[in-house]
């Protein structure tokens, strides 16, 4: 044994080996995004109901309102973040093969980012025009 090992305190040896201070990160993010989704999803449902029979011009005017474009982007991004966290837990719980689990976790996270990017770009395209 090297002398450096003997000189380290019990706390020093334990640091970095556990989930201390980081273990609640996933739990917290899931709840924080859930709280955000309460008003956002209700706003989204009411908005979509209002747009049910909207023609293209009406939709473009609605998305063109900066507040609507902002809230719509926020809804989409919060939903994708929340979905990624949730799907991650479901995969971790039910998929036991390490290779398949790793593949699905990576693919679902990539899908969440891809869909989030695609939806925000779509929202901006409609809102700004071009």
């Amino acid at each position: 044994m090297g002398s450096d090992v003997k000189l380290r305190s019990a706390l020093g040896r334990a640091r970095g080996l556990g989930s201390a201070r980081e273990g609640v990160g996933h739990f917290y993010a899931q709840r924080a995004t859930a709280i955000g989704m309460i008003p956002l999803s209700l706003w989204f449902v009411v908005s979509v109901i209002g747009l049910t029979h909207a023609d293209y011009g009406t939709l473009r005017d609605w998305v063109g309102q900066p507040l609507n474009a902002t809230l719509l982007s926020l809804t989409v991004l919060t939903a994708m973040y929340h979905a990624q966290l949730g799907v991650e837990v479901v995969i971790a719980d039910y998929v036991h093969g390490e290779t398949l689990k790793f593949t699905l976790l990576t693919a679902s996270t990539m899908a969440a980012f891809l869909l989030g990017a695609a939806m925000v770009v779509s929202i901006l395209k409609v809102a700004v025009g071009v």
Binding site: R31, M37, I49, A79
Partner: protein, 125 residues
Amino acid sequence: MTKRDRPLSPHLQIYKMPFTAVLSISHRITGVVMAVGTLVLAYWLAAAAYGPDAYATAQAVLGSVPGRLLLFGWSVALFYHLCNGIRHMFWDAGMGFEIRDAVKSGYITVGAALALTILAWAIGV
């Protein structure tokens, strides 16, 4: 040793899940359904981004009977997951852990989800 007829429970093929367990797995199922269902939202937004023709097609697809059924299922999943998520938050705050309370909050959750779904479609149609 004598062979005794001891109950085998939970025996998954014949196990009658308690009400609270059905609600629990439903939370996950509706969550995954919505995660996959985000593809529909992405399609609708992308169609709007591609212009009036693509948007008209998307409106026709989603306004058709299968499209409306899909959206109805989507809305059920959303409202159930929303209400049950709020139920989860009470648990996170340390409230409602007694079985009687969990059953009661379960009924409230299902009732609220049904009411919100009916309300949304009554206004939306």
